[in-house]
Symmetry: C2
Subunit: 411 residues, 2 copies
């Protein structure tokens, strides 16, 4: 199990306790009344993994292209980047941004015969995703009728679902009450990751444990952290997630979407609220963003995310180079320990500035760890949203841009 | 040439005019007195490119490994990612973060015979860089004495420079008055990029034009933008650089370092100041961060960075799929135009919220464009720093963490 620690003192007055109790009640209600469906995904998706592992309804393929954007790809990318370097799996490619340079680069790695194309869109009409899908059909000369190399993941009764039925193509449903950014443990992430060979039941198990413990009131730190953020965001306007592993860079992006789209809202009084999520990678960004944290304005909280055991043996050799002897204090140390010690030293230097810090430790690049981490951030987001009194699960702010885009093409 | 536009009204009162005039004077003085050397790099480095192209002091190599972190790699990565997909060049690998999973992955792509190892450290004793260099020596069994596959870029008289001399290894100097994050157009970026085959003289030319025009008072928008940021950062605490191309992701990171380390400072009155830089990529992050910009707190300015001509022909086919007809309004449109129209539509939706917006258009993935863009951001950073009354070119805040790290290993 991961470990979580808040390094700042909490004002546990009645007001705070009430906030926490109310938010807990809200999440309980969301789960029980099915207002948000993500709480049940760890159980519900387990069946899906069994089906996928049992029967293999696809033609042969040796690589998977995920066509999806935002909530349809970020979670899968996060898990893929986290577990990928340590596990045997089929290559996963992400056709996400409509940038034509990027698309061309990825097209070169795919072919008609050996690729499974997974088209993922909750609404079924995401303009970037459907446009890329059309380009894929043309570029690879894909037959549509009954093609076992094309599969969809979308809402039941979405236009994309109907399209799939029309052509006899396989499609998986996304539960109606699971929004894109909370959907990684639904078919959205579980289908590509299972088919690529990842041990998704273990990921789900990690998430399940966290959700169960949260509702059993055994993970109170989540409500405490949410309360601190909800009470103090006008002062601490940003939360920096400082993750100490390259393999967490896509997880950072997933966190930024989850937090940003969920918490950046108008509250019931019409006020624009919400803390801003920022992702950084350590130790590298100690050479970039740390100066601003330490000496800049006191408008940030910092969450340190570390891997306890990299399970890697690469070490700094016991080599003393002339004139460079002052670097010898890390000789014979493993790089994993260097990263860990840098994380701890940086955390201490940030704490010494009275900047609110919390830390998360994941034991290793393991399935349970990433599953639990995902559930942790989802619960934290829901709890913070409840405390801010906002609607956590919609994103009305992005509609205007879509409308303007359409108008621009009408001219 | 790039184009730059501020879409917010400027309060051009006497106070603002004075700020701008004073900042201009400060930058002029910095250049004339050599307080900061980056202003002269476009000329100074031209000689270096000629030398590198003329004589070839290295053994044969067909790939380059850059061993460096922060200012020693971010700028090179930014240019490499921007120009790379469109140009023939040798592969460049970056050994940057000491994450052992990442190091192992990159080690697999290198070998002793065909790799030029470029070790870059301004101080010459960066702990991550020297540790990785030691691991490289051991892993690849590198001879040191006179090895033409090892080259250094470092300050004259740094310990690393002395080490190079001791072993008869080639080294390039970084001008003393050029800090890491302002050093991309010095040997730090010019050596690897030129050796990899990029047309660095053109990059320098783009930068030179911008710097000359700035000092000829022909790019006043830079001082105006700096004044807006310096006056309003306590309200608009973040600047989001929304870059519409995957190829700009590393540029975003370079910008975050440049801005964050330069402007996040204690001012002369001991106050912690500085706006926070955040990088995002469009259109993809319209599905992530845009909701927060539109409906969240009014604490951000947004800079849109677009490529006018992707020089790519990939288009959305004229394909009408049953049930998906509502996506047909972009049929026959090139993906490049889709990206551009999304940028414009999003910019308009953000502007409609009265959020301060500015825009930058780079004509294509060209050398002059990226060179100019780099000079633009460096000048903007220097001007903003001057207006905030801070020391733009140091980073005292990162020292404490280094000290604590050393202590942890002494125990």
């Amino acid at each position: 199990m991961n470990s979580y620690k808040l390094h700042y003192p909490l004002a546990m007055d009645d007001n705070t306790k009430n906030m926490m109790a109310n938010a807990y009640g809200t999440l309980l209600r969301e789960r029980e009344q099915g207002i948000s469906g993500y709480y049940n995904l760890p159980q519900d998706s387990l069946l899906l993994t069994q089906e996928l592992q049992k029967e293999h309804p696809f033609d042969d393929f040796d690589r998977i292209a995920v066509i999806g954007i935002g909530g349809s790809s970020l979670g899968t990318k996060a898990i893929h980047s986290f577990l990928g370097p340590k596990r045997e799996h089929l290559p996963l490619y992400f056709l996400e941004n409509p940038d034509p340079v990027e698309l061309r680069k990825i097209f070169e790695k795919l072919d008609k015969k050996h690729t499974l194309f997974l088209v993922i869109s909750k609404s079924g009409t995401t303009i970037e995703t459907i446009s890329i899908f059309k380009a894929v059909i043309k570029h690879f000369g894909l037959e549509l009728k009954g093609n076992k190399h094309i599969t969809f993941i979308t809402d039941i009764d979405s236009p994309l679902h109907k399209f799939a039925e029309e052509f006899g193509l396989k499609s998986f449903a996304i539960p109606k009450n699971v929004g894109g950014r909370f959907s990684v443990l639904s078919s959205v992430g579980i289908v590509p990751l299972t088919l690529a060979g990842f041990d998704t039941p273990k990921i789900l198990q990690g998430a399940k444990g966290m959700i169960e413990r949260f509702f059993a009131l055994e993970e109170e730190h989540i409500l405490q952290k949410a309360a601190f953020i909800a009470q103090n965001w006008p002062t601490y306007r940003m939360n920096v997630l400082f993750s100490y592993a390259n393999e967490l860079e896509d997880f950072n992006k997933w966190y930024v979407q989850l937090w940003g789209e969920s918490l950046g809202k108008k509250d019931p009084f019409g006020k624009n609220v919400g803390p801003t999520p920022i992702g950084h990678i350590g130790p590298v960004d100690q050479h970039s963003f740390l100066q601003l944290i330490i000496e800049g304005p006191r408008d940030k909280t910092v969450s340190f995310l570390c891997i306890e055991n990299f399970e890697e043996t690469l070490s700094i050799p016991d080599l003393s180079l002339p004139y460079l002897e002052k670097t010898d204090f890390v000789n014979k140390v493993s790089f994993a320990r260097l990263v860990d010690e840098e994380c701890k030293a940086t955390m201490r230097s940030v704490r010494s500035q009275k900047i609110p810090v919390d830390s998360i430790v994941v034991p290793s690049f393991c399935e349970e760890g990433i599953g639990e981490l995902i559930a942790y951030y989802e619960l934290l987001t829901s709890a913070t949203g409840a405390m801010l009194g906002i609607t956590t699960y919609n994103q009305p702010g992005v509609e205007l841009g879509k409308k303007i885009l359409k108008e621009r093409f009408r001219q």
